[in-house]
């Protein structure tokens, strides 16, 4: 299969294969993305995050359906956790998006966190680029909602929707773990439950407390299951986008994002070289032994390794 030709021909199979190749870190995939990089930048990227069980998949499903009514092409990258013990994963986000499976204007890809060094963020970056080249107008990234790598992924998005539900705990929960900082829009889902108004009010209060920027994230009560509040939620996404562009904050964000990406790729290459040094020579074992025997300290050992690394780069 000629992947690049297929991709340019909007062949979903080729796109799907390319996403796997990016996920598996295959150099041919990177080459194709390099050649097609100029075609990226069309899609709007929307991050959907929040604690487990709040209805992120359902919210994504409903937003995607609303956008399909407007004739937009929609890509979805849905991330679920990989077991650190077996490397296996159950990727179940499609269960909530079953009617989208057959829509030719939708492409859904499930992804396990796989747990490799920064690997997930690279794989999601890759998938988003492929879907962008494929011509999607909107790309949703749905995350597991916990942990640092999630926050890194969400930083990929132009707009982040933080999904919450009533009754997840007291307002202290909301101060934890950077939740308030990463949301551009707060959606309180399952708002037919008791305390929905109070949860929204608590989030509002937290936002008053935290933010000093010009943009104040809106808080919206929704019931995604019944499609209640979905149109309004999309309006808020558009409003946020307008604000980002008007204020110049989008350009700043985008520049930061590209910076972070370059550093990620660089770090990855450095690690690869380091692994190959450790595979091809015995230097790391020797250094470790020296540190063990107190002939050296670990800091000097690392300096030695940096010398080795630089020499290695020079010789290549």
């Amino acid at each position: 299969m000629d992947i690049k030709a297929g991709l340019l021909n909007n062949d979903k199979r080729a796109a799907a294969r390319l996403i796997s190749m990016m996920e598996n870190g295959e150099p041919e995939a990177v080459q194709i993305i390099k050649e097609c990089y100029n075609m990226t930048g069309h899609a709007r990227i929307i991050g959907i995050t929040g604690p487990p069980g709040v209805g992120k998949s359902t919210v994504t499903d409903k937003l995607a359906k609303q956008l399909r009514k407007e004739g937009k092409q929609v890509g979805i990258v849905a991330v679920d956790p990989t077991s650190p013990f077996t490397g296996g994963a159950i990727l179940g986000d499609r269960v909530r998006m079953a009617d989208l499976n057959n829509d030719p204007g939708v492409f859904i890809r499930s992804m396990g966190t796989r747990g490799a060094l920064g690997g997930l963020s690279k794989a999601v970056h890759g998938a988003v680029k492929v879907l962008d080249i494929l011509g999607m107008d909107y790309i949703f990234i749905e995350t597991v909602g916990v942990g640092q790598s999630e926050i890194d992924i969400v930083k990929l998005a132009d707009t982040v929707i933080m999904v919450m539900v009533p009754g997840l705990g007291d307002d202290i929960q909301a101060i934890k773990a950077g939740i308030m900082e990463i949301g551009d829009i707060f959606a309180v889902n399952k708002s037919d439950r008791d305390d929905a108004e109070r949860t929204a009010a608590e989030i509002e209060a937290m936002l008053d407390f935290n933010r000093d920027e010009e943009y104040r994230p809106p808080v919206l009560n929704i019931i995604a299951r019944d499609s209640k509040g979905i149109e309004k939620l999309l309006e808020l996404v558009e409003k946020h986008w307008e604000y980002e562009n008007r204020s110049g904050s989008y350009k700043k964000k985008k520049l930061n994002r590209v910076r972070a990406e370059i550093m990620d790729i660089f770090r990855d290459e450095v690690m690869k070289t380091l692994y190959s040094i450790s595979e091809n020579t015995n230097i790391i074992n020797e250094l470790a032994q020296k540190v063990m025997d107190k002939q050296m300290d670990p800091y000097s050992a690392a300096d030695r390794l940096i010398d080795e690394f630089t020499n290695n780069q020079r010789n290549n």
């Binding site: 979903k12 799907a16 996403i19 796997s20 990989t82 994963a89 159950i90 269960v95 499976n101």
Partner: protein
């Protein structure tokens, strides 16, 4: 092979019994595979499309309603039409012995009936996926 094997576990047709599918999904996960679980009442078109978008190595379907002779081959044919005949298709559920040869003939690579140890299914998938 460094990458995990990707398997779509699907329930085609109208029966609502997914215990078996879930047990298999869990077993495959514990064997280190990435299982894309689609949920109940999927059409063959939805299953084939999911397998393509997910770049699956294998589609594993479960039917308890008796519609296997109709639905299993349909998925195989749709994958062929979409140029995805390198995706391994296996089936399970309540399937009479007499139906198995016909299903194999139609392109379902393996049929696993109740009582099959999950290790048999796992080994079959590991040994028969077409892409390394």
């Amino acid at each position: 092979m460094d990458r995990p094997i990707r398997v779509v576990v699907a329930k085609p047709g109208l029966d609502g019994h997914d215990r078996g599918a879930k047990v298999v999904a869990r077993a495959l996960r514990d064997a280190g595979m990435e299982v894309i679980y689609t949920g109940l009442r999927q059409t063959p078109e939805q299953i084939a499309e999911t397998a393509i978008q997910e770049d699956a190595d294998c589609v594993a379907m479960s039917i308890l309603s008796g519609a296997h002779n109709h639905l299993f081959p349909k998925v195989v044919n749709l994958l062929r039409e979409k140029g995805a005949d390198d995706i391994l298709v296996v089936g399970g559920g309540v399937i009479p012995e007499d139906d198995i040869p016909g299903l194999i003939e139609a392109g379902i690579a393996g049929i696993f009936t109740p009582g099959t140890p999950t290790s048999v299914t796992i080994d079959f998938i590991k040994n028969n996926i077409k892409r390394k």
